[in-house]
């Protein structure tokens, strides 16, 4: 018996034509592998974000890695002291590209209320940061928001970065309307 051959005109509907970058970014967007650099109180809220109630896996970013070599998203959750600085740098350097950084909480963003001899006044003096999450500690929703905004920025290279809460209605990226500082 002769095998039925697919008719080429019909299968054209099942082909998607795109740029390779877009396809790869689409894949990256929903499979972020975060490594958490948790040092202090913010790390406890990170734990809450991964636990059942907030459930980070709903957003496709739950494969928490503890080896930077397997991660593409660094979440810095907690105060970074000067003693910790070379370690943070090293961890960041060990991550393969492309990689992103979320700075979670007042301490990581700016030193928080530890304006003193021991504390690095913002991790962006050490490594590049893609998104800053305000709060001391930020609520889990705020961290989720940053992750969603980051995912959005991966597939929308022109989207604004900096603070979370980018606004994107109808697929059009606009500058954030809450007066955010864009990185």
């Amino acid at each position: 018996m002769e095998l039925e051959r697919p008719i080429i005109e019909e299968s054209i509907d099942n082909v998607i034509v795109t740029r390779l970058d877009s396809a790869v970014n689409w894949a990256r967007e929903s499979s972020l592998w975060p490594m958490v650099f948790g040092t202090a109180c913010c790390a406890i809220e990170f734990m809450a974000t991964t636990a059942s109630k907030y459930d980070l896996s709903r957003f496709g970013a739950e494969v928490i890695r503890f080896s930077p070599r397997q991660a593409d998203l660094l979440i810095v959750a907690g105060t970074i002291s000067y003693k910790q600085a070379p370690i943070l740098r090293q961890i960041y350097a060990q991550m393969p590209s492309p990689k992103w950084v979320i700075s979670m909480g007042a301490c990581a963003c700016s030193g928080g209320f530890y304006d003193n001899y021991a504390t690095v006044q913002g991790i962006d003096t050490l490594i590049p940061v893609d998104f800053y999450v305000a709060g001391c500690p930020p609520r889990p929703e705020a961290l989720l928001d940053a992750i969603v905004a980051l995912q959005h920025s991966i597939t929308h290279p022109n989207a604004s970065k900096g603070l979370a809460m980018t606004c994107c209605d109808d697929g059009v990226c606009k500058p954030c309307t809450i007066g955010a500082v864009h990185g």
């Binding site: 000067y82 003693k83 370690i87 530890y114 304006d115 001899y117 609520r139």
Partner: protein, 555 residues
């Protein structure tokens, strides 16, 4: 003879204070330890005055009495080391050296502990500018420290050219942390392995040192409350209370009964939610992930309660000197009942999985043993001490806040291994639930804060409607609560053990010095010796079971 070396000794309640000449340190400490049975050295610190002062805080064998010794140093800032008498002195003296530049003669390893090796100067000296950070470019090489330890244990021998040889033994070095899932991101352990066995270990801490004590010297008493939240951030409210209580004792004020009951209830709630994280994380470290969900979920119910009460989930800042921000919310009883029910449910589910679980038993029993003697040597307190069978519970030994009137048990272990430490925490959750239920039945009505507007803020109507009220409010916010010049040590049974504050005031609204006696700090100093002889996996289980909270340890 040695008794005569103690000058100006006077005893108030259970605390004796005395001074002595610095050259007599060892005689004085030996006398206190051997004759008077003050066998635990809780804290060592300095006060940067002219001349520089040293402070030693000791606790008696029965845990009831305290002894606070002070002495003045000459301008060389040198005193003998107490390491030959007390194990806990090793790290406490290192910290005093690091922060104040006091030199301890005879200390085996007088190096920095909280700040990095390259740090120049001593940050808690009054002339060190608070905001002067110093960048660190390299992590410390712990190999020489570990080799010295291995040499002292006879595993390595030093060659004539200064290098070490292990003879026919095959020693491998392994670094664990600080960026390691089981080390809370802040604890570094460097181990020497022979096969699978850890034959030697050293620790490095300070990765979360964020200048708490220096920041305190630059803020008013009430502004310090948010900083105390972030000491043990798994149980912020307990730290709030410990600090506020210390200052209230200095001011000589006592809270109304309702305020005290609320405080006790919140301390016990903190104990519950802190133990939940400790146990959940410890079980994750053992590979038992499901329990983490079971134990973390009730925390969310507690967070809802706390958010309603204080506006924050984790860092509550609810206490004030002289009371608290406001009374409980309407309907709190129902919410509290739900919290307790959820906790019982989560705990029950977890215990069903592990209580008779062979793997759990094998991983935890007879692992990381802490003997009662070492508990005292290292001045360890809290559940870690009680798991070793040491009946050290300040709620029983030196009751405060009506603890003597509540019906609850001190939970004791028998072996002092990982299993006991975990099971003691499970049982302590039950006991805390008992206390909270008694409070709910007995809580009196009335005010929650004292009625003295030199200490607590005046009511809002008076602030808005009268010039006296406005000025009163303004002065309290700007100047802070004024505390007459004195020094005072006070502690509560916080979640990890005795959490104490040694505060020096100078009559202004800002303390001259605040030193935290942190239970995690002394517990951590015993860790290296606890894991020697075990395997790497045991070390991970042990670390989880002593519940080191870096915010409290490194401050």
């Amino acid at each position: 003879m040695a008794e005569a070396l103690l000058l100006h000794a006077h005893k108030i309640d259970h605390t004796t204070r005395a001074t002595f000449a610095p050259q007599h340190l060892i005689e004085v400490l030996t006398y206190l330890k051997k004759t008077l049975h003050f066998d635990q050295l809780l804290d060592v610190t300095a006060i940067d005055e002219k001349p520089m002062k040293m402070v030693y805080i000791l606790r008696s064998h029965d845990f009831i009495d305290s002894y606070i010794l002070t002495t003045s140093l000459d301008e060389t800032h040198t005193i003998d080391s107490a390491t030959s008498l007390f194990e806990s002195a090793h790290w406490l003296e290192r910290e005093t050296y690091d922060q104040y530049g006091v030199h301890f003669v005879g200390h085996p390893n007088l190096t920095r502990i909280l700040n990095h090796e390259g740090f120049v100067g001593h940050p808690l000296r009054k002339d060190y500018p608070i905001a002067q950070g110093q960048m660190c470019h390299e992590t410390l090489d712990l190999l020489p420290q570990l080799q010295a330890r291995l040499e002292s244990k006879g595993i390595l021998t030093r060659q004539s050219d200064g290098t070490y040889s292990s003879g026919s033994r095959d020693i491998m070095y392994l670094n664990l942390g600080p960026s390691h899932p089981a080390s809370h991101g802040t604890i570094r352990t460097f181990v020497a392995l022979e096969g699978e066995t850890i034959v030697g270990a050293v620790n490095e801490i300070g990765y979360l040192h964020r200048g708490f004590e220096k920041s305190c010297e630059n803020h008013t008493y009430n502004q310090i409350i948010p900083y105390t939240d972030r000491l043990n951030y798994c149980s912020s409210l307990a730290n709030n209370v410990a600090f506020a209580k210390t200052i209230e004792e200095m001011l000589g004020v006592t809270l109304p009964d309702r305020g005290i009951f609320i405080r006790v209830m919140l301390i016990e709630l903190s104990r519950i939610i802190d133990h939940l994280v400790c146990l959940g994380a410890n079980l994750v470290d053992l590979g038992a992930l499901t329990n983490y969900w079971y134990l973390f979920n009730p925390r969310e119910t507690a967070y809802d309660f706390l958010t309603k009460l204080t506006g924050a989930r984790l860092t509550n800042s609810y206490m004030r000197v002289g009371g608290m921000a406001h009374d409980l919310f309407v309907g709190w009883e129902e919410e509290m009942k739900r919290v307790l029910a959820d906790v019982e449910q989560g705990m029950g589910d977890t215990l069903k999985l592990i209580e008779h679980n062979r793997i759990f038993h094998d991983r935890t029993q007879n692992v990381g043993i802490l003997t009662p003697q070492r508990v005292r040597d290292f001045a360890i307190s809290g559940p870690n001490a009680r798991a070793s069978g040491v009946p050290y519970d300040m709620r029983k030994t030196a009751p405060y806040y009506y603890y003597e009137s509540f019906d609850f048990d001190t939970v004791l272990g028998s072996v002092g291994d990982v299993y006991d430490r975990m099971m003691v925490r499970f049982e302590e959750i039950r006991q805390s639930i008992r206390i909270i239920r008694q409070i709910m039945a007995r809580i009196p009505s009335g005010a929650v804060s004292i009625d003295d507007h030199r200490i607590v803020l005046p009511p809002k109507p008076s602030v808005y409607d009268s010039i006296e009220g406005t000025i009163n409010h303004f002065k309290l916010i700007i100047d802070g609560v004024r505390v007459s010049a004195q020094s005072h040590y006070s502690a509560i049974e916080a979640v990890n053990g005795e959490l104490g504050f040694f505060v020096v005031s100078n009559g202004s609204g800002t303390p001259a010095k605040v030193k935290v006696k942190a239970p995690s700090f002394t517990a951590m100093s015993a860790y290296a010796s606890m894991i020697e002889g075990g395997q790497i996996a045991d070390a991970i289980a042990t670390l989880g079971s002593i519940n080191i909270i870096a915010g409290e340890m490194d401050r």
